[in-house]
Symmetry: C2
Subunit: 326 residues, 2 copies
Amino acid sequence: MKNNTLSRITDSIKTELGQFNLLFSKSLKSKTALVDLVTKYILNQKGKKIRPTLVLLSAKLVGEISERTYRGAILVELLHTATLVHDDVVDSAETRRGLPSINAIWKSKVAVLIGDYLLAKGLMISVDGNDFDFLRVMTNTVKRMSEGELLQISKTRKLDTDEETYFRIISDKTASLLSTCCEIGARSASDSKEVIEALRDFGTNLGIAFQIKDDVLDYTGSNKIIGKPSGGDIKEKKITLPLLHALKLAPAKESKEIIKIIKKGAKKDGVARVIDFVKKYDGIEHATKIAEEYIEKAKSNLELFPDSENKTTLIDLLDFIVNRQK
Amino acid sequence: MKNNTLSRITDSIKTELGQFNLLFSKSLKSKTALVDLVTKYILNQKGKKIRPTLVLLSAKLVGEISERTYRGAILVELLHTATLVHDDVVDSAETRRGLPSINAIWKSKVAVLIGDYLLAKGLMISVDGNDFDFLRVMTNTVKRMSEGELLQISKTRKLDTDEETYFRIISDKTASLLSTCCEIGARSASDSKEVIEALRDFGTNLGIAFQIKDDVLDYTGSNKIIGKPSGGDIKEKKITLPLLHALKLAPAKESKEIIKIIKKGAKKDGVARVIDFVKKYDGIEHATKIAEEYIEKAKSNLELFPDSENKTTLIDLLDFIVNRQK
């Protein structure tokens, strides 16, 4: 995968992304000076805009990009931004995209309120555009995202995740929003149930593959590349697919020992021990194989559509999202 | 005002409130155990249910309470609850209604996610019920509430509020939700623009009167009654109507001195000095008079409707909300 893949992908819809950026900035304008100040700061952080790109490419695949497509793209980006701002408060994160976080500059109270503001603004744009189908999809997604995170937290506390629960967690907390991007893009340009369902499933499979790969990176990545300490999930007591597989294959006694290490809060040596364990029982190969299966599923969801430059670009974006190293 | 006023008010719609409580508990059910646990805890906190009561009484005043009325009542209560849960995170509050707060028991991350879940759940109920007019009103209200709080924060930092800004802040942060309760109740039972507008204005005027009275209490209340130290606003550098009036009437030199005391962070002596200043220039009488004017405005918004037991009850609720001591 070349480094310039994302710019090659976005180049193919440069005009549309330009139009999106314009409308997105406009949607953030407020008569309250502090809101304007903070949202300008957010715009300067320049995210990768992966979610609006998914909306635009999905719409283009199944029909024409319209005003409604842009409203959908703004909705998902506003919601995603709101989530990031709230996440940084909860994690007391000091930085975001290399710049100080909102909570670091303006304190938590402002950050929580700005998150609420962005969420409300996104929903208002859908209400004003009479995009009630978007609202139906999106409110359900917000619910699933919070439920998925809460399920993960409760499983982390009890350390009793199984594969079924793992897939429910990652479907809800990660795949649901990516799926919604594709579904909203499709809905903005097509009325066909089959088409909408194909794009929704494409997004779901893409999202699941992405999260599994992300979880694998926690075992294989190095500090410099993933920008966080390798083994972070182990320290946070998150049991993900590579470990689940190893726990299933290893003798009960060894598995119990590993769970004990994680439970008491693994430090440097403990983390190394767990990583070795996962490697010994092929946890990384297994999880990578499963992720590849989901990538193939995602690609097969697009079989419905004839080959085109746009379809190739959407598959490139799938590869970029799933294989990105940070 | 008798202590048993609220129970007398709620007694008049006992059956309907019972039905509401049943539907509200049902709406909080989740397949995720942790969500169920936290929401059961919230139900046990037993709020006063002032907002759903406003919805029900407004609907009854203008027509019949229907399924749609209950959905509206659930929407406002879920949204209000979400706001309280998020507020407690931001303020690091240890208690709520005499019990440990959600963040105190389950930590901030869970509290933020539960707040998001409740908000999404409320909106979903409106989407599922095709109550798109409720969504229109409610998303605008969420936006106004966050903008109002953010405006207050920026004015607090700069200490440069004027009366116009004060009224914008309290209209947005406080009155908008109470107004929305009355409007949604009216919309659930009437199509008349005039009727809907009358109830919306009733709620707005009620909300403004309530917030002014609350701000006056900060100068007149004692610890025991208001449950927080008298002069809390002064310590937090919030300039409210009683102080604004005194600053306007006092000689420039004296006003400057008071602003200086507040700016550097007033302690016990400073707070006493500011309270004396406000009393000297009739700030409390003035603000109380303005609040009374808004109460009268609210009552006149109901002139449209013939006298009835239900109308009397709604006015009793207005008096209860505005005059409650905590």
